[in-house]
Amino acid sequence: MWVKALPLTLLAIAVGLIVCHLAVPKTRTWVWKVLAAQAVLMFLVQPYFALTWAPREVMMGDPYRIIYMHVPHMFMAFLALPLNVILSVWYLVVKKSWAVDALSEALAEVGVYLGGVGWLLGSIWAKPTWGVYFSPDPRLITAGIMVFLYLGYLTLRRLIEDPEKRATWSAVVSILAGADLVLTWFATKMFRSIHQLPSSPDTVDAQIVMPFRFSLVAFLCFMFVLVWHRYRLALALRKNEIAPPEAVGQTQVIA
């Protein structure tokens, strides 16, 4: 009973805190600290759940345990980067704002980091499970391309000096990248898949599922704190770049 309740409760706490942060600006000074504490505590406990508490899998033995790290990384990356696409559309179509641009930058960086690491972890899992590090599997390829697309996005941002152009052009690139992710998914689906079919929680032992959900919540807290800080850094950098000039004296016309 507590097995199901624990991750759910922690998720509710995390989501509640995030909503608080977004809805009530005054709370922004301390919410991230609570989430950071939650993440730290959960990461301290997680190794126990993942490595000891969860049983050995019947067919795959111990190597499967890497999913407790691999999947949350990928899951969060697939949360962060599509969010960047949405923000990019917002920036171009609805309203330009430095906050949106800074948040996009933060999401891209954190997303690329989590996606890249997650992809590597996936490769490490693949070797003992399928016998190969890499295969033309739809999810694998889509995830890999997603990381590359946003590496390109980040590189572009670094190579443009003008802040307005940087914001506009990276938004354009993000939108094209978003369309590409959908198309890549369908293209690679047309190839045969050997990726693990997603097991629904009903078909899998509750003891294997719980650490997995626990990890997801821990990573959610972790990602939020990372993005929040990266966003604040990006915004500060932007403000520094765009500081307007001081007032000046009278005009003089020489007729």
């Binding site: 000096e161 307007p244 000039p245 000046v248 003089q252 016309v253 020489i254």
Partner: protein, 216 residues
């Protein structure tokens, strides 16, 4: 007919991390001509490009011929012409082809004939069909003059038009300016040749680091 050729209201413009214009305000009545002076980097080219609606203020508003540059750019552009140190030319096309391109984009009737006449007028007939790549700097300036005449603008913006011209070319440029003024075209002339510029214009604006400067 709008009262002002342009109105610059507290305009600041940033390029990268550098402020090219800082809180500039100025208005030019319609039909008048303005001498724009200042050292290199003082913001003259930026100002001209903004009047041409090539780029827009970071802060403040700019109206040209009675309309806001950012909102009404497509209405302003047919009426304004910019003559810049950039030649705006496609190196591999000839002067005639470059000119005809502009004419067809403007939708001018009888484009071929009009272009041929202009090419003759700026004395480019003999080399008019060679690629621009082979032209001297003076010849490129003459193509630019032809473009300006083709546009027949209400506001002409000239950025260092006398550069790279021989004495004959300078006389032709001065004649062009006189012709534009006679037609009632508003004019902004940016040049280092101050005495010459003052002869040709009604008012003067001196820029210093993107702001209005003192003239010593």
């Amino acid at each position: 007919m709008p009262q002002f050729a342009f109105e610059i209201k507290d305009v600041s413009k940033r390029y990268g991390q550098h402020w090219a214009l800082a809180r500039l305000s100025y208005s030019l009545p319609a039909g008048k001509s303005l001498l724009l002076t200042g050292h290199n980097g003082s913001g003259k080219t930026t100002l001209l490009r903004m009047l041409a609606t090539s780029t827009f203020p970071t802060f403040g508003t700019m109206t040209v011929l009675g309309r806001d540059t950012r909102q009404a750019r497509d209405e302003i552009r047919p009426e304004v012409a910019l003559l810049s140190h950039a030649s705006f030319l496609y190196e591999d096309l000839s002067a005639r082809q470059n000119l005809r391109l502009l004419a067809s984009l403007m939708g001018i009737a009888d484009a071929k004939k009009v272009c041929d006449e202009l090419i003759t007028r700026v004395h480019l007939n003999t080399r008019g069909d060679n690629p621009v790549r082979e032209y001297s700097a003076g010849m490129r300036k003459r193509v630019a003059i032809a473009r300006l005449l083709l546009k027949a603008p209400k506001l002409a913006l000239l950025d260092e038009p006398f550069g790279e011209l021989d004495p004959q070319g300078i006389l032709e440029m001065e004649a062009l300016i006189a012709e534009l003024k006679a037609k009632g075209t508003s004019l902004v002339l940016a040049t280092h040749l101050i005495e010459q510029g003052q002869r040709l214009t009604d008012e003067r604006l001196h820029l210093q680091a993107g702001r209005v400067g003192e003239v010593t």
